[in-house]
C-alpha cells in the first residue's frame, strides 16, 4: 500500500497502521486513581512482547470513564513510558466535534503518531454528521486519523459508503472495526481498495480479517498475548494457514471471554495473574458483576493453556472410593441395614462410590443429614439432568475432595452433575432400576474428579462412564 504523506505547516508526517497493537488498559487503584506504575508495567510488557504500536484511551482503556484532563495526563504518561520505542495512537474521540478536535490537537502537540476517533455516541448524528465530524478532525486536528466503528457501544454504525467517502480525505489513514461483523470487514476491504488500512478490532475474528487482507489489529487481548497474535499474523501472511488456524483456536476462548465480559475487567484480571499490576476497572465496572469469580478462574485456565502462566498441578484422583468409609469421614455412619447396596467405578478422570438403599433405613437418615447440615466444601446436591429435572430414585452427590474455588464448584455442579444424571437416566431408559427402588430407595454418590481436566464435555462423558460402571454393581 502506498504510504500516505501529509503536510502540517512545514513538517511532513506519515502513519501507516500495521501489525498488532494493544488497546492499552488504564490501571486504576481501588479508589479509581490512575496507577502510573501499573500503566508503565503494561506498556513495558507489551513492547517487550513485540507490539508494533500502542493505543492509549481506547474502549479497553475505559476512555469513557475519564475526563478530558485525565485523558491529557494519560497521554503524557504514555509518551513518557513508551519513550519513542513504538508509535502511539491516541484515543481522542469525544461526543462533540469541538472537544474531539481540541484533544486531537493536544495529542498532536505532545507528539503522538495518530488519533483513534470513536464515532460520536449517545447523541448520534446521521451519515452526514459522521462525515463532517471526521472531516473536521482530519483537516484541523494535525494528526493522521483512524476511524473507529464499535456499534455494540455507540449504537451507531459507520456505514461503508460513508467510510468510502472519508477514505478520500488524505489524512484519514484507517478504520478500526470492532463490530465483529466479518461481512462488514470484507465489504470495507473490497470497497476501500487499499486507500486506507482496515484494522481488526474484534479479537475473535483476527485471523479471518488477516486472511482477508487486513494488515493491522488493535485489540483488548493484545495487552496479554500480543506475541500470539503476531505469530498468527506471520503464519497467515506466509501462507501457513493450518498452523495459523491452530494458534488462533488456542486463543479463541480467551478472546471470546475478553469480549463477552467487558474487555477491561477480564484483561486486567489476566494481567494481574501474570504479575503485572494492571489494577482495577473504574466503578461501576469493578464490582464483580461483569467479570464473576467463576469467569476469572476460567481465564486463569486459558492463560495456563496458552503458556503465559504456570499450570497449577492438582493431585491425582482417589481410586476405588469406598462410599461407607467416605460417609464415615463426614460423620455419617451407615449401619448394615437391609437392602443397602454399595459399589464403585472409576476412569482416568472421575472416580465414584455409590450407595443405594431403602429411605426408611439408615441411608434415609444420611440423605436428610447431607441436605440439612451441609458440610462446607462438601455440600451435597440433588442429581439433576438440568434444573427442575431431577432424576429418580432421589439421588444426592457429594464431592470427596473439598471444594476450594468457584471453578471447582462449577465443574462439580456442572459437567459432573450432568454426567451423573445421564448415567442414572440411562439405567432408567434400559429398565435396569428395580421398580420398587424408584419410590422406596435413595441413592448417594461420592465423586472425585481430576481438577487438571480442562474440557467440560470430556468431564461430562467421563462422569457418565464412571457412574454407569458403579451403578452396574448395584442394579443389574
Amino acid at each position: 500500500m502506498e504510504a500516505k504523506i501529509r503536510e502540517f505547516g512545514d513538517s511532513l508526517r506519515t502513519f501507516k497502521p500495521e501489525g498488532v497493537m494493544p488497546a492499552l488498559v488504564t490501571p486504576f487503584t481501588r479508589d479509581g486513581d490512575i496507577s502510573e506504575e501499573g500503566y508503565q508495567q503494561v506498556i513495558d510488557y507489551t513492547i517487550k512482547k513485540g507490539v508494533t504500536g500502542v493505543v492509549a484511551l481506547g474502549t479497553t482503556g475505559e476512555f469513557s470513564y475519564l475526563r478530558t484532563e485525565e485523558r491529557k495526563k494519560l497521554l503524557k504518561l504514555t509518551m513518557k513510558y513508551v519513550d519513542g520505542r513504538v508509535p502511539i495512537i491516541a484515543g481522542t474521540g469525544q461526543n462533540s466535534t469541538r472537544a474531539t478536535l481540541a484533544l486531537t490537537k493536544y495529542a498532536a502537540d505532545l507528539g503522538c503518531d495518530a488519533a483513534l476517533v470513536i464515532s460520536p455516541y449517545y447523541l448520534r448524528p446521521g451519515d452526514k454528521g459522521y462525515y463532517e465530524h471526521y472531516d473536521a478532525i482530519a483537516r484541523k486536528g494535525n494528526l493522521p486519523v483512524i476511524l473507529y466503528n464499535i456499534p455494540q457501544c455507540t449504537l451507531g454504525v459507520l456505514h461503508s459508503n460513508v467510510v468510502e467517502d472519508l477514505a478520500e480525505i488524505d489524512n484519514i489513514v484507517g478504520i478500526k472495526d470492532s463490530s465483529g461483523s466479518v461481512p462488514y470487514i470484507l465489504e470495507l476491504l473490497q470497497k476501500l481498495k487499499g486507500k486506507m488500512e482496515v484494522i481488526i478490532g474484534a479479537d475473535e475474528c483476527f485471523l479471518s480479517a488477516v486472511v482477508a487482507g487486513s494488515k493491522a489489529a488493535i485489540m483488548a487481548s493484545a495487552n496479554v498475548i500480543p506475541h500470539i497474535w503476531l505469530e498468527i499474523m506471520k503464519l497467515a501472511q506466509s501462507g501457513k494457514i493450518e498452523e495459523a488456524v491452530k494458534l488462533q483456536q488456542s486463543a479463541q476462548t480467551f478472546a471470546r471471554m475478553v469480549l463477552k465480559y467487558g474487555a477491561a475487567p477480564p484483561v486486567k484480571a489476566a494481567l494481574k495473574m501474570m504479575g503485572i499490576k494492571a489494577g482495577r476497572a473504574r466503578i461501576p465496572l469493578n464490582t464483580g458483576g461483569t467479570l464473576t469469580p467463576e469467569i476469572r478462574e476460567e481465564i486463569r485456565i486459558e492463560l495456563e493453556k496458552m503458556g503465559v502462566i504456570e499450570k497449577l498441578q492438582h493431585s491425582a484422583i482417589q481410586k476405588e472410593i469406598q462410599i461407607l468409609d467416605f460417609l464415615k469421614s463426614q460423620g455419617i455412619e451407615l449401619g448394615h441395614s437391609a437392602g443397602l447396596l454399595t459399589s464403585h467405578g472409576a476412569n482416568d478422570m472421575v472416580s465414584v462410590g455409590v450407595v443405594a438403599g431403602p429411605k426408611s433405613g439408615s441411608i434415609g437418615h444420611a440423605f436428610v443429614q447431607l441436605l440439612s447440615i451441609p458440610k462446607i466444601g462438601h455440600e451435597a446436591l440433588t442429581v439433576i439432568l438440568e434444573p427442575n429435572l431431577a432424576v429418580k430414585p432421589s439421588s444426592l452427590m457429594i464431592p470427596t475432595r473439598k471444594i476450594e474455588s468457584m471453578r471447582q464448584a462449577s465443574l462439580f455442579y456442572g459437567p459432573v452433575q450432568s454426567g451423573a444424571a445421564k448415567a442414572i437416566a440411562a439405567f432408567l431408559e434400559n429398565d435396569r432400576v428395580p421398580k420398587k427402588s424408584l419410590t422406596d430407595d435413595v441413592v448417594i454418590l461420592a465423586l472425585d474428579i481430576d481438577l487438571n481436566a480442562r474440557d467440560r464435555r470430556e468431564l461430562t462423558n467421563a462422569t457418565q462412564d464412571a457412574v454407569e460402571n458403579a451403578l452396574a454393581g448395584i442394579w443389574r
Binding site: 458483576g289 429411605k359 434415609g364 436428610v368 440439612s372 429435572l389 431431577a390 450432568s418
Partner: protein, 496 residues
C-alpha cells in the same frame, strides 16, 4: 381490475380466542376441538379464530387447516362468527385456503403477512391485494413481527387499508407507538384488533375494536368484562382486570404461546393435548414457568379442587380441597417417609435453587430437627424457622461472604421459605391434620453477588413452592427423565 362483492357488514365485536388446535395421531382431534370451542363460547367468546399463530397453523398441512376451519364453522354455527386464519407465506396457497374458508362459512379471514423470506413492502402489498381480490369474504391483515420478521409500519397499513375487501388489522406486535398512529389515522369502518395479550388494556382503551388473544382460550370473560368497563369509562375496573391476569399472560406470551395455553387448558380440565414437536414442555415453556402457570390459575380459582389422600403407615389423612390441576396430581401420596423435590427459579445473581425434603417427624427427618441450630466450624449453620406451624429447617448451602450476603440468606431467603411453607398450608395442599406431624428441610443457594432483595425473595418463594409440590406429586416422572436424557440443558456443563 375485477370488481367483486364482499360482505361489508362483518363487524368485529368483543374478544375472540386464537384457538389452540388439539391434535391426535391422525390430525385435528375433533372431539377436543369442539369441546374447546364450546368452553370458550360458554365463557363469553364473541367469535373464534381457528388456525391462528396460537393454533400452530405453521405445523399443520393444508388439509388439516381445512379440517380445523370446517370443524370450527360447524361447531360455532348460529352462535358466533368464525374468523379463519388462512395465511401462507406463498400467496397462491393463502388464496386457496381463504376460498376454502369462505366455502365452509367463515365470516372473514385473518391473513398473516408473509414470513421467513422477508418480502418488501411492495410485495406485501401485492400479496394482500391478490388475496383480497380473490376472496369472497373480507380480509383482516395480521401483523406479528416477532415471528414473521417483517414489522408492518403504519405507512404500509395506510396503503393496505385502501384495498377493496381488506376491512381490518390484527396487531400482535405489542408496539403501542405504531398502533397508536394506526388508530388515530384510520377511518371509522377500518377495524383494528389487538393481538398482544399484555397490552390489551391500553390498546382497547385507545380505540381498538376488539381483541384476538391466545389467553382468551382460557378466560375470554375477563376481557369481555374489561371491554364493558371501558365502555362505561371505568378505567379503574378495567385496570384491575388486566392486573389480575397480567402475570399468567406474560408467561403465555413469552414462554411458548400456544403450547403454554394448551398446558393451562389441560390443567383446568379442558383437554387439548400437547403442542406438535419440536415444541415441548421443559423447553420454550420451561418446567419453572409450567408450574408457575398452575400457581397463577390456582390464584384465579380456575383449578378444580378435589381429594388427595396422604398415607402414613396405617393412617390415612385426606385433603378434600387440594388444587388438582388435571394430569399433575396423584390421588394418593402413598408414603410420607421422605419426599424429595428440587426447583430452580429466576436467573442471574438472584437465582433461587432449592433442594427440599419433606416427611414425618419420627422418620429420617428427625435427623434434621436434632441437628438444626447446632453450630460447628465445618458446617453451614442451619436453623429451625421460628413461628412456623409446620416445622421447617432452613439450611443454606453457601459460604457466607459478606454482611450483605448474610442478610440476603438469613433474612430475605429465609423469609421466602417461611412464606412459601405458610402459603402451601393455606392453599390446603398440606392438610391441617398433618401439619404437626411433618418436617420440611429447605436447602437453599443464594449467590454471593445477589443484590436485588425483592427478586431473591420472589425467586426463593416460588422455588420453594415448586419444590414442595414436586416432592408431594413426584414430578418430573420417569418418562420425562428418560425422554430428556440426551437433550437436557445443564447450564454449567459447557465450556466457556
Amino acid at each position: 381490475m375485477e370488481v367483486k362483492i364482499v360482505s361489508e357488514d362483518y363487524r368485529f365485536k368483543g374478544v375472540y380466542p386464537a384457538l389452540v388446535t388439539p391434535f391426535d395421531e391422525k390430525g385435528v382431534n375433533e372431539k377436543q376441538y369442539r369441546n374447546l370451542i364450546d368452553y370458550t363460547i360458554k365463557s363469553g367468546a364473541t367469535g373464534i379464530v381457528p388456525c391462528g399463530t396460537t393454533g400452530e397453523f405453521t405445523s399443520m398441512r393444508f388439509e388439516e387447516k381445512e379440517e380445523a376451519i370446517r370443524i370450527a364453522c360447524k361447531a360455532a354455527k348460529g352462535r358466533v362468527p368464525v374468523l379463519a386464519g388462512t395465511g401462507y407465506a406463498y400467496t397462491n396457497d393463502a388464496i386457496k385456503l381463504t376460498r376454502r374458508a369462505a366455502e365452509f362459512g367463515a365470516a372473514a379471514a385473518l391473513v398473516v403477512s408473509p414470513y421467513f423470506l422477508k418480502p418488501s413492502d411492495k410485495e406485501i402489498y401485492d400479496h394482500f391485494e391478490k388475496i383480497a381480490n380473490n376472496s369472497d369474504i373480507p380480509i383482516i391483515v395480521y401483523n406479528i413481527p416477532q415471528v414473521t420478521g417483517v414489522p408492518m409500519h403504519w405507512t404500509l397499513i395506510d396503503g393496505l387499508r385502501d384495498i377493496d375487501g381488506i376491512i381490518g388489522l390484527k396487531d400482535s406486535s405489542g408496539d403501542l407507538v405504531n398502533l397508536m398512529t394506526i388508530l388515530v389515522r384510520k377511518p371509522e369502518n377500518f377495524q383494528v384488533m389487538v393481538g398482544h395479550d399484555e397490552v390489551a388494556l391500553p390498546a382497547l382503551a385507545s380505540g381498538c375494536d376488539g381483541a384476538i388473544l391466545a389467553s382468551a382460550n382460557v378466560f375470554p370473560d375477563r376481557y369481555i368484562k374489561m371491554q364493558a368497563a371501558l365502555a362505561t369509562g371505568d378505567l379503574r375496573e378495567a385496570y384491575i382486570i388486566q392486573r389480575s391476569i397480567q402475570k399468567v399472560i406474560r408467561i403465555f406470551v413469552n414462554n411458548g404461546g400456544g403450547m403454554a395455553v394448551k398446558a393451562a387448558l389441560n390443567m383446568i380440565g379442558v383437554p387439548v393435548g400437547l403442542a406438535r414437536p419440536p415444541l415441548l414442555i421443559g423447553d420454550t415453556l420451561g418446567y419453572d414457568m409450567h408450574d408457575e402457570i398452575r400457581s397463577c390459575l390456582e390464584d384465579l380459582q380456575m383449578i378444580p379442587r378435589g381429594l388427595v389422600t396422604f398415607k402414613m403407615g396405617n393412617r390415612s389423612i385426606e385433603s378434600e380441597t387440594y388444587p388438582k390441576a388435571v394430569g399433575m396430581v396423584p390421588d394418593v401420596i402413598p408414603d410420607l417417609t421422605l419426599l424429595h423435590g428440587e426447583a430452580l427459579f429466576g436467573s442471574g445473581n438472584e437465582v433461587a435453587h432449592v433442594d427440599l425434603i419433606l416427611g414425618i417427624r419420627d422418620g429420617p427427618l428427625s435427623v434434621a430437627l436434632k441437628n438444626a441450630g447446632k453450630s460447628s466450624d465445618d458446617t453451614h449453620p442451619s436453623t429451625i424457622i421460628k413461628d412456623l406451624e409446620l416445622q421447617t429447617v432452613f439450611a443454606p448451602t453457601v459460604t457466607i461472604t459478606s454482611e450483605r450476603h448474610k442478610k440476603m440468606v438469613y433474612e430475605v431467603a429465609q423469609r421466602a421459605v417461611s412464606d412459601a411453607v405458610r402459603r402451601t398450608i393455606t392453599d390446603t395442599i398440606i392438610p391441617d391434620e398433618l401439619v404437626q406431624d411433618l418436617v420440611i428441610v429447605a436447602n437453599v443457594f443464594v449467590h454471593p453477588s445477589a443484590v436485588n432483595r425483592m427478586r431473591v425473595h420472589i425467586n426463593n418463594f416460588i422455588a420453594v413452592r415448586h419444590a414442595l409440590r414436586r416432592a408431594i406429586e413426584g414430578r418430573q416422572d420417569v418418562d420425562e427423565i428418560i425422554a430428556r436424557k440426551d437433550s437436557a440443558r445443564h447450564p454449567f456443563a459447557y465450556n466457556p
